[in-house]
Amino acid sequence: MAVFLELLVNGISVGAVYALIALGFVVIFKATEVVNFTHASLLLAGGYAIAWLHPLIGFWAAVAAGIAAAALVGALVEFLILRRAHVGSRGVLAIVTIGVDILLTTELTRRIGTEVLALGDPWGDRVLRIGPVTVAETRVVALAVAAALIVAFLLAFKFTGWGVAMRATAEDAETAALMGVRLGRVSLSAWAVAGALAAVAAMFLCVFPTPGLDRGTAAAAMKAFPAAILGGLDSTTGALAGGLIVGVTETLMSGYQSELAFLGRGIGDAAPFLVMIVILLLRPSGLFGTKEPARV
């Protein structure tokens, strides 16, 4: 039982970080209907900026600067590339983002080189003990931040003009323009926000219990795919739920892999995808995603 609790709490704590990453996907998807493969490199960019700056200006200033830097990179990607891609299909745009990701990741990993960069965070390797269970302090903060951001975006999408403009643009840019929406600004801001979110996620991804930022960090973004889909690609609540489900599944399956040896060892990595398949069979738009209204 104690083991189960320990694993569960750990799963939730990892899930919080996945949720933060997934939230970035969701924001871009909601605002532009593009599946954003560039998110991984935005993550790397944000993390790199924080790691590079913290010895110079201190952790918090570095985080602020890292968020700004990643937002800038996101905005630049939109301004220089996506804005200029006049393609009909969002699928094609998704592939453009793959290309952009290759470009950015190559350059960033070249810069990071062979280092493992610490972020210099104030939490260190402190853990919180709750009865028999321990959980890293960083993860508690991550969960709180994820929940706060997710609520904030939920409200923003529903109630602010920015959110309405963003969703309108995603559906039909021309008509949105006829409503007076400045398209350029809307998608620029979406990408900047996604960049900023990536930097926040990167900050939590690269602190304890992981050793720091290195060239492999971006791979973690993959975990956020099943998380985002599970919850529903256009739902911020879904990002949280999906992240937690993925985190918990992965942790439990890893923790019990000796008991589950018949499934093959290392099932922890494949398990979230299996859960995702099951959920999609039951709900093709994810747990909280909106169904495509179809009528003729």
Partner: protein, 308 residues
Amino acid sequence: MSGEAGPGIGGPETVGPGTAAPGTVDPGIAAPGTVDQRSEGLDIRGLEVRYGPVRALRGVHLAVPRGAVAAVLGANGAGKTTLLRAVSGTLRFHRGAITSGTVAFGGSRLDGVPAAAVVRRGVVQVPEGRRVFARMTVAENLRAGALSVPGRRAAAARERVLELFPVLAERAHQRAGLLSGGEQQMLAIGRALMAGPSLLLLDEPTLGLAPLMAARIADTVRQINAQGTSVLLVEQNAAMALALAERAYVLEVGEVTLSGPAADLAASDEVRRRYLGVGVPETDRPVGTDPGPAHERPERTRLARWTA
């Protein structure tokens, strides 16, 4: 290009005028561009629009004085929608561009101004084919319409719109994509009114509306016009359009072939036959795109049954 409204290359010629040569103006109808009290309203001069190699509009002159209603008639593909796009700044979404001529409203130029800025000058277009935001609720669609105006004015506008179209209030929380065709049309008009326009561009507002509702739209147009909004109306329901408008233009293959006071146009034989669908019995005509000279018309082919 959206499926429902995608006239494309080659259209104008297909449905072009068979008899009336472009540029012919009925005697008794004043030539455009002579009235001068319209510096305040919409003023289009010598407008030419191209979609790549296709010239969709050629030398169009048109004016909507402040507070007036003007109607544009024309066959499918004549360039009516293009004309509105040129005003609202949305040509670039269709890879089209103004190649010469000017569009001005309230004394300042609109050509070259991006769509969002055009809206901020009080010119709002109801696009062809409704184009509601299908995944957003009715209420959110209305909200989107008011994005360019401050909140207080939006609330007032919302009240007016819901009064005009009570069904929208009933469906406030339904997703717009699930509304019936006519309901979507009401939403599209309501959404445009949310911005409190001083010039409203309507592209076939009664498309797919029941007679009663079409009449109500006509009333609405009259009503908002009475409140000072100018209206440029593109409409296939020529009878209604001519009844509403003070001035009307007939567009054929990208050119204004007729223009003048609406009443005069309504009396013209050409307009009655081609746009009102009355006068000449021609149900036996082949269903080509255009009635050619009588002697060239083949008899309607009967379609033989298919034998498997």
